[in-house]
């Protein structure tokens, strides 16, 4: 019995998990291996996995010769601010959509979605003019506002889904126990949807962290974010593979670390919340 369990575990759990994880991280590992190769080893007729002469020169260059640290701070500020603002307004709207019946609800939800269906590339020039007119062009706020605009619809939809997943009986029970709706929202709904809120927050943060098209237009050298900075390593007649790959490796680290810190909330399930509530 125990033995079949172990075999089952291996077949149904460890093997698929390892394969999926390998698939997910392999290109990253490959990027890292490329980033520590000396320039002359980038082009070889045989695929070379490990270099004999690893170098961290690209990483040194990245931090010493370019504004990478500053770009990272810019990205972090923009992504954080976007996540906070979007989450705040989205939770309110999602609660309304999930728990109330009101006129025009369908219409509002669909119009939220429609906005996200329209290709951003066509909105670029008019948005640029708007940002210029309200004086936000080349400030991080222009990105925060643009990203909020594009992440709110998704976030509202996602959160609506998570709140609807939650049995309404729990809230009703609390209200019977003497909570008002507000208290029920803060004491029951919010903690119980914490996983969904965290997941949505991650979604917003990553979207803002990676966004390129608006970042290209709405920033200058002082406010530039990471994806735009990475793009400057691609010249017309030359790609700085070393810097590009080193930059790519570094770019992902803050988000992964951040996620490690919040991931506990993501899986804090119904039980954890219910005890508190």
């Amino acid at each position: 019995m125990k033995r079949t369990n172990a075999v089952n575990n291996l077949l149904l759990f460890y093997i698929p998990l390892s394969l999926l994880v390998l698939f997910a991280v392999f290109p990253y590992i490959w990027t890292f291996l490329t980033s520590i190769k000396p320039d002359t080893e980038l082009y070889t007729s045989e695929v070379k996995y490990f270099t004999q002469h690893p170098t961290f020169k690209n990483y040194m260059d990245l931090f010493q010769k370019s504004n990478f640290m500053k770009n990272m701070m810019n990205s972090f500020f923009v992504a954080m601010a976007t996540a906070v603002i979007s989450l705040f307004v989205s939770v309110l709207a999602a609660y309304a959509f999930a728990r109330f019946e009101f006129k025009g609800k369908m219409y509002f939800m669909v119009s939220f979605l429609l906005i996200n269906m329209f290709p951003a590339v066509l909105l670029l020039t008019p948005l640029f003019v708007i940002m210029r007119k309200i004086g936000l062009l080349y400030t991080p706020y222009s990105l925060v506002i643009a990203y909020s605009t594009f992440t709110i619809p998704f976030s509202v939809w996602l959160l609506t889904g998570y709140i609807r997943d939650l049995p309404v009986a729990l809230e009703e029970a609390a209200m019977v126990d003497g909570c008002n709706r507000m208290q029920a929202f803060f004491r029951i709904t919010l903690p119980l949807t914490a996983p969904g809120i965290v997941a949505t927050g991650i979604y917003i943060f990553i979207t803002a962290w990676n966004e390129f098209v608006f970042a290209l237009m709405f920033t200058n050298e002082a406010t530039r974010t990471l994806p735009v900075a990475l793009q400057t390593f691609i010249g017309q007649y030359d790609i700085q593979w070393g810097l590009l790959t080193a930059g790519g490796v570094i770019t992902t680290i803050p988000v992964v670390v951040l996620f490690m810190l919040v991931q506990k909330k993501l899986v804090e399930g119904l039980t954890a919340g219910a005890v508190k509530g």
Partner: protein, 434 residues
């Protein structure tokens, strides 16, 4: 009622926050205006310059700008480096949106888009007063004249496409001298295409063909070498690409992949990065590119890399001239200072340093006589190619033609989905459509 007060106050505070954000932006703007006024008082004008760099870590450009600012106390040039891939997008959208730079690097082919919206400043009046004008390489002023007869650009960088090759591979294949004609080129390529390690698979190809974006430049060397007059348009203004000569020459180009298989099987998808990689990794013995790749190739191969001008066809030779210029936008408040800056960049001393650092062909005659350039084998190939180096036609169709039409129909023809004739008809049509 009480229970919603909290929600309500949250919403109100959110709006306050929005107003504050708006307020911040507003005050920023004001302070900008104030700064500008202050600058006027001290008579220091700021010139915003946008540029792309092949190697953003090379400090030469920022050093040059610093020197300019030091030697011109009344002008302060602020440089913004933008990646090449998006330079055009950002420039065009910003200029259209009303917030472009004062000056920037530029490509001749972009002229219609910017001149069409009346965004570029004609430079003729300034150029006539510029001391370096007569020193600029012959014909360049003609090449850079726009269809309305005016000059909008200040010459800065030049590159000429020629053929790189690996002498050691030529020797191993028993090729005595570099090919002079496309027929000789094919013979050489066939000898160079082989299995070098004996595993039964071809691992070295004659030529790194470029079938993806940007491949139109080397491609034209194949086609126009067969076209009388070596031009895209004949004297009567008709496109020559769908003439029988051009179709036949194009067939030869396609057959390098389809029939003779002397190019890597990846050719339809290969862009500049891939063809250079193919050459540098030893997968290909020849590749068409220009002098800006030479530093990297010397680093990789040392002496085992050399160059010759692109081969000739029945009607002679044609190769592509690459260019980067500097321009001034009409929106600038300080055209005079802007011209001072962009003309300073193209003056002898600055240009010498820039061309040495980046490996560009000098646009000034006096510099081409310089020992440094005379002794460089790749400069020699460039100079030898100058007499038949031309640019692509400049008209409003070319943006789409270059970026999407040429790669798409070439790839279709390489895969045998359309014939050489169909391909050339589409290309001719795309070049002249109204």
């Amino acid at each position: 009622m009480k229970k919603y007060l909290k929600a309500f106050s949250m919403i109100v505070s959110f709006f306050l926050m929005l107003v504050m954000l708006g307020g911040c932006g507003g005050s920023n703007n004001d302070s900008d205006g104030a700064k500008q006024q202050e600058e006027n008082k001290n008579e220091v004008v700021t010139i915003k310059h946008w540029v792309w760099l092949d190697n953003p870590n090379d400090p030469t450009f920022s050093q040059l700008v610093k020197e300019f600012n030091d030697t011109h106390p009344n002008i302060n040039v602020e440089v913004e480096v933008i990646g090449w891939n998006d330079f055009h997008t950002k420039l065009l959208s910003s200029v259209t949106g009303g917030s472009g730079p004062d000056t920037s690097s530029f490509k001749l082919t972009w002229q219609p888009e910017f001149i069409g919206q009346d965004a570029l400043l004609p430079l003729d009046d300034y150029l006539n007063g510029w001391a370096g004008k007569a020193d600029v390489v012959d014909n360049l002023w003609d090449v850079m004249k726009y269809s309305d007869g005016k000059h909008y650009v200040m010459p800065w960088e030049l590159q000429v496409l020629y053929m790189y090759y690996r002498p050691s591979m030529f020797k191993a294949a028993g090729i005595e001298k570099v090919p002079e004609t496309w027929d000789e080129f094919l013979k050489a390529a066939q000898k160079l295409t082989k299995d070098t390690n004996g595993d039964g698979k071809i691992d070295q190809y004659g030529f790194a063909m470029r079938g993806a974006r940007g491949g139109h430049e080397p491609w034209a060397s194949f086609v126009l070498a067969s076209v009388p007059g070596n031009a895209f348009f004949d004297a009567g203004g008709n496109c020559t690409l769908d003439t029988p000569e051009a179709i036949k020459a194009n067939e030869f180009f396609l057959d390098l992949y389809k029939k003779y298989k002397v190019v890597p099987p990846t050719a339809p998808a290969d862009g500049f990065n891939e063809i250079i990689a193919n050459f540098k990794s030893g997968k290909a013995a020849m590749v068409v590119h220009h002098i800006k790749s030479s530093n990297g190739m010397i680093e990789q191969f040392g002496d085992d890399v050399d160059a010759f001008p692109v081969p000739a066809g029945p009607q002679g030779r044609w190769t592509s001239l690459g260019d980067t210029e500097n321009v001034i936008y009409k929106s600038t408040k300080h055209p005079k200072e802007a011209f001072t800056f962009i003309s300073w960049l193209s003056e002898k001393e600055q240009l010498l340093r820039w061309d040495k650092a980046t490996g560009n062909v000098p646009v000034l005659k006096s510099l081409q006589e310089d020992e440094y350039f005379k002794n460089n084998r790749f400069m020699k190939a460039s100079f030898d190619s100058m007499p038949f180096a031309h640019i692509y036609p400049i008209n409003e169709n070319m943006g789409e033609w270059i970026e999407s039409l040429w790669p798409a129909v070439t790839q279709q023809a390489l895969e045998g989905k359309i014939t050489s004739e169909e391909m050339m008809k589409k290309l001719a049509e795309g070049m002249v459509k109204k």
